[in-house]
Symmetry: C2
Subunit: 203 residues, 2 copies
DNA sequence: CGGATATTTGACCAACCGGTCAAGATAATC
DNA sequence: GATTATCTTGACCGGTTGGTCAAATATCCG
């Protein structure tokens, strides 16, 4: 067997980068090829269509994110720490984005989800699935926090949805305004939203 | 003087509808012309470019929204009622969208803001301005609520930003999942986020 | 080395993109 | 009813879109 190429990976990376920074519809196949230094013929050797490439790129991004989430939401950590620790991590990476490419980028799944959500595409379905899974991390952390009474959240699922909405809304505002300082409000907002007890608020 | 036309208004309405439902980049000039039953030549008689049309359409949408906000956030109403009343109104109109076109559409300013936010276009600037103004309604309501001690929010601006993020995040989730039921969580989340007192929570 | 398979290349496609324009149609005004 | 400014029309533009393809080339394996 002949020749192994990394052009497919370069395409995945370039696609994620461009779609994340701009948007799905604003990113053309030619743009992606140019950024990945791959000719269009090779593009269609590896991927059947632009939408399939986007799907694969988001899937790859999710795999990376999942391993970070698994670490930050480890059950060995106090439940509220998992959440605030994750928010700290998000603030850090968004600041890094801003340093590198000049923009706060927000969440790629959420951004593309907003863009294509109403169109019933395969992309939309995949994104809903990813967001659902991300929600689960919040849900179990909140359930644990409730069990050890650092938080009062009888319905952990609803509380997780509200926290997730607050989190994504804050991240999106940071993108729209290109201001990572807004992410500093994630921690206090989360504790407030979950009705965290006084003692739990410190650090 | 000759001939008065409403083609410009039809274009504004069609543009808002299509951009809101789909996205800015997914909506073409031809799409808009078709929906408005206007030939392309007429389009460019009234508007110099697609982006200027979008700008004007969002501006018109904001004017309509502003008059609703002025009414629902009237200082004659109890401060928390202004907020919950607005959320009720949003839930109602989003349900209506879903009934009419099958989709929860979310907030047009926020959606387009997410899409073009990083590109430094005039559209982005306009949207930031609109979102800022919408934020002010929350801010004064929260300040009033704090003054009459139905809420504890020493920094009304920060509290407003957090509430706004929660509101937009929830609306966007409802769009992504096409589920208006999520909007039912706006009220309880808002009261929780603002640390509303027990008595204030009842209806 | 020779063959099999994986990859690369660049030319090509029809459809569509945002935008232009000259010519004609229409209607309020005098 | 002529004038005049507003609006409408449809043909047209070069560039870009997502996507195709046959031929060339590179590599691994025996």
């Amino acid at each position: 067997m002949p020749r192994t190429s990394d052009a497919d990976e370069r395409l995945l990376n370039a696609a994620l980068e461009l779609i994340w920074k701009n948007s799905y519809h604003a990113t053309s196949v030619d743009d992606i090829c140019r950024a990945a230094e791959v000719r269009k013929g090779s593009f269609y050797h590896f991927f059947p269509s632009k939408s399939q490439l986007a799907l694969a790129a988001l899937e790859a991004a999710w795999r990376r994110r999942k391993s970070i989430l698994d670490e930050l939401f480890s059950p060995t950590l106090p439940p509220l720490r998992r959440i605030t620790g994750y928010f700290d991590h998000v603030a850090k990476t968004q600041r890094a984005h801003r340093g590198k490419c000049g923009c706060v980028l927000g969440c790629p799944f959420f951004n593309v989800g907003c863009e294509v959500g109403t169109q019933g595409s395969a992309l939309g379905t995949k994104i809903r699935k990813i967001l659902d899974r991300q929600l689960l991390y919040f849900e179990t952390a909140i359930r644990d926090a409730h069990a050890q009474r650092t938080v009062r959240a009888p319905d952990a699922r609803v509380a997780a949805r509200m926290l997730f909405a607050f989190y994504q809304g804050t991240l999106a505002q940071a993108r729209i305004r290109n201001d990572p300082r807004l992410l500093g409000e994630l921690r206090t907002g989360a504790l407030q939203l979950l009705g965290a007890r006084g003692e739990a608020r410190a650090r």
